[in-house]
């Protein structure tokens, strides 16, 4: 053995690989590498392999399928957090801990792929949407308390209504660890015995990368699985994240989320005032109806009395005519006369009254009929 060989470290293959991995672990316990996905494949439904490349170089990557929080495709630009490793077959690769798309194009592509996947599973189906409770008294709010979106939400809620208890779970709403924290917050509100009436998830506007946590598959699934009805208001009006789509109610913005869960005290006051204002009109309407009704009765009474009087008059007229017909003067006018005195004795003097004269006459003869 020459002098050079005595000074060089000497290993078996296995030892060499082990030592190399130890050194890599010490020097680079974790690295972040950016590149383009190439030759992506999934083996046995759980092992993910792809190359990460740039213009000049390429390195193999490995991860488990469950770690892939966002769909990947060849050509997508990604950033991986990984541990460099030499496999026992001497192949250098990166063992991926996390991967995320970067750049508008890759983020958009990843979004569309995941949206299609979850849509196929029915997560966005309208039939899954639950109604919010009619009266909301306790709200679980997941947000960054340092954000403008949170401040807007609190302000709008306070202006519109009072008496609601907001339990705020402060989380980071962007960054690598944000999805896990959001999921933890959702699980916190879902595993308590005393559930809140609804869960609100909000975040202000930002780029597609800023909103990436709300397009994370596990965050979306956690929202879908929530026992508590969910309201999600992320970004500006034109932003729609997958979390927005899976929520029971989508709010356009954090401010809109506050409007959705609170009644407007102005509207409530107007409704209450309206209820009472209608009452005097109702009383007046009943009184008017009663006056009309009484008037009608009086009219009927008048007509009834008039009719009776008419009937009585007719009756009196008839009786008067009948009585008149029995008047002796009327009989005399018909040519009859009244005899006074004993008319049955011959030679007696009797008095005859006609309609026009009184005659004295002597009875000449008398015969009974």
């Amino acid at each position: 053995m020459d002098l050079d060989q005595r000074q060089l470290p000497s290993f078996s293959v296995t030892q060499f690989i082990a030592v190399t991995n130890q050194m890599l672990d010490m020097a680079y316990p974790a690295v972040v590498v950016e590149g383009e996905v190439d030759s992506f494949k999934v083996n046995q439904g759980k092992y993910v392999f792809f190359n990460l490349k740039d213009r000049e170089s390429s390195v193999g990557c490995f991860m488990m399928l469950y770690q892939m929080r966002t769909p990947l495709q060849d050509g997508m630009k990604v950033v991986v957090k990984a541990r460099p490793k030499l496999t026992k077959w001497g192949k250098f690769s990166l063992t991926i801990d996390s991967v995320r798309p970067v750049g508008e194009g890759s983020l958009r592509k990843s979004f569309e792929l995941l949206k299609a996947k979850l849509d196929k599973e029915g997560l966005f189906s309208p039939e899954r949407k639950r109604l919010l409770p009619g009266s909301i008294n306790r709200v679980g709010l997941i947000a960054s308390t340092e954000s403008a979106g949170y401040a807007d939400f609190v302000t709008i809620a306070g202006q519109r209504w009072g008496g609601i208890e907001f339990e705020v779970y402060h989380v980071q709403v962007q960054g690598e660890s944000s999805p896990e924290k959001i999921i933890k917050a959702i699980e916190y509100f879902n595993t308590r015995e005393d559930l809140v009436d609804c869960l609100v998830l909000i975040r202000g506007g930002g780029s597609l990368d800023d909103l990436a946590s709300f397009n994370d598959e596990m965050v979306v699934r956690a929202i879908a699985a929530s026992r508590v009805p969910t309201v999600v208001g992320v970004g500006h009006e034109t932003d729609t994240t997958l979390s927005d789509m899976v929520a029971d109610v989508r709010a356009a913005t954090p401010s809109n989320a506050a409007e959705i869960i609170t009644p407007d005290k102005v509207d409530v006051r107007r409704y209450v005032d309206g209820l009472v204002q209608g009452v005097p009109r109702r009383i007046q309407s009943v009184l008017d109806a009663k006056v009309l009704s009484v008037g009608g009765l009086v009219e009927r009474l008048d007509r009834s009395v008039d009719l009776r009087i008419e009937n009585y008059k007719d009756s009196v007229d008839s009786s008067t005519k009948l009585l008149e017909s029995y008047n002796p003067a009327r009989v005399l006018e018909r040519g009859y006369s009244i005899i006074r005195g004993s008319s049955s004795k011959v030679g007696a003097v009797v008095e005859l009254e006609t309609s026009k004269a009184i005659i004295k006459a002597e009875v000449k003869s008398y015969e009974e009929k």
Partner: protein
């Protein structure tokens, strides 16, 4: 606050019931004035409650 909101909800339901009496067959002119005064008083009480209620915001957890 939940208690306050429940009370407010109950008051509004009570007011709706009181106003419904005026449209019902039980309406009588003799009772109308007193019942109207009662409904009016309740509506004013509700308005007061609405103005006095404030939201309570508690940060229960912080995950930075």
């Amino acid at each position: 606050m939940k208690k306050n909101n429940v009370t407010l909800d109950d008051k509004i339901k009570d007011l709706e019931k009181q106003v419904a009496w005026f449209e019902s067959d039980d309406f009588t002119v003799e009772e109308a004035v007193e019942r109207y005064k009662s409904a009016k008083s309740l509506s004013l009480s509700i308005a007061e409650d609405i103005e006095e209620l404030k939201n309570v915001i508690t940060v229960i957890k912080k995950e930075d």
